[in-house]
């Protein structure tokens, strides 16, 4: 089989994709070997495919991915919000379960905090002795200026205070409050 330049040009794309039948391939290769123009066309086309096929040619504007994710976040009401909703529900269920448990016995569940504004502490040494007042909401180190109700004070372990819903004092127990 003998092929012309025009035939090579017509098939160069399929040739480079490995999609010409073997007979034609051999004939094309024979022609290309002896034809300077067709060699230039085939090699150049191969270069085009190689260069544009490089991952580096797929450039996106800076910050593209972050903006895309933000847009998804905003428009996925069924996604993150539901996920968060589920978390809140789960947390609430734990609290309810904990309260029931505490009401039943003084078990080890975290009860509802006495103050809705206070945050629970983290890493409070359970055996540390702290001061609480009967009607107060926080537990303190002995002698803390923030102990307002000086009456009905009790000294108990931090673990017991937490179990009873007391939160760490923002002043004397500051280091046990999450800094977030």
């Amino acid at each position: 089989m003998v092929v012309s330049c025009e035939e090579v040009w017509r098939e160069v794309s399929n040739y480079l994709d490995g999609e010409v039948e073997p007979g034609l391939r051999v004939a094309m290769e024979e022609h290309i070997r002896g034809c300077k123009h067709c060699t230039a066309v085939v090699e150049g086309t191969r270069n085009v495919i190689q260069l544009y096929g490089d991952e580096r040619m797929l450039e996106v504007p800076f910050g593209f991915s972050q903006r895309l994710h933000r847009r998804l976040d905003e428009n996925m009401p069924a996604s993150r919000r539901n996920f968060l909703g589920w978390m809140v529900a789960a947390a609430a269920a734990c609290l309810v379960a904990g309260t029931i448990e505490v009401a039943r016995s003084s078990a080890l569940h975290t009860p509802e905090l006495r103050s809705e504004h206070a945050r629970p502490g983290t890493g409070v040494p359970p055996r540390m002795m702290v001061v609480v007042s009967e009607d107060g909401k926080l537990f303190h180190a002995a002698g803390c200026d923030y102990i307002h109700e000086k009456t009905k004070l009790r000294t108990i372990t931090a673990a017991e205070a937490e179990r009873q819903g007391y939160s760490p004092c923002v002043r004397c127990m500051k280091k046990y409050l999450a800094t977030a």
Partner: protein, 220 residues
């Protein structure tokens, strides 16, 4: 085969797209981010190929991804997720383009008779192309400019097939054209790009330095 747990902390872990789609459908919407992660750049590139404008391409890319999420139920596992996603992107981009260009004639290049044979105009020798040349901004810029000169129908095919490495069949599906058209347009796109790039860059990129091609002349 037991399902492997997907860890968001280890996105590099190999995963099964079909399984991811099923889990997204089952309500694990967070996994949609995993699903699209490998294709984000491709979505943008497909949109840009059609719109040729960064802001529009980015907006359309976002719209397409949102649409894919909303319509994920319609995804059929007989095609790859990436092909489906690119198909949505192409449709979105074309719609945007139609709106923007409602009264503007297509460039002549877009109306060329694609059945006719394309004759290479230039036979500049262009053999050596160290891929490291792509590290140079001006080279990538030249390639991008040449691509922008192609007519729409050629650019779409070329971007999907040669830059995103879709198969002929996938390219045809994504663009809604026949495989024969993909092949014809691809041939033209590749030859036109070679014509556009070979004379200016072929010699300049030659490792051998033997080429003494002068702009405006033919080397024979």
């Amino acid at each position: 085969m037991p399902e492997r747990a997907i860890s968001l902390e280890h996105p590099a872990e190999p995963f099964n797209e079909e399984m991811l789609v099923r889990r997204v459908l089952a309500g694990e919407h967070e996994l949609f981010y995993e699903l699209i992660r490998p294709y984000e750049r491709r979505v943008y590139a497909a949109a840009f190929a059609i719109l040729r404008n960064e802001a529009d391409a980015e907006d359309v890319a976002q719209e397409a991804v949102l649409k894919a999420f909303k319509h994920i139920r319609q995804f059929r596992a007989e095609s790859r997720f990436s092909t489906w996603l690119i198909q949505i992107t192409v449709n979105e981009a074309r719609m945007r383009r139609r709106k923007a260009h409602a009264n503007i004639m297509e460039p002549i290049a877009d109306r060329q008779d694609e059945e006719g044979n394309y004759t290479p105009r230039d036979f500049a020798d262009w053999r050596e192309i160290p891929s490291e040349t792509l590290e140079r901004n001006e080279v990538r810029q030249k390639l991008a400019e040449a691509l922008a000169e192609l007519g729409q129908i050629y650019r779409e095919v070329f971007v999907l097939r040669d830059m995103q490495h879709l198969s002929i069949e996938e390219t045809a599906k994504a663009l809604g054209i026949s495989t024969a058209s993909v092949k014809t347009r691809l041939l033209r796109a590749r030859l036109m790009l070679r014509d556009l790039l070979a004379p200016g860059l072929g010699g300049a990129w030659s490792m051998t330095g033997k080429l003494s091609f002068v702009k405006g002349t033919k080397p024979w």
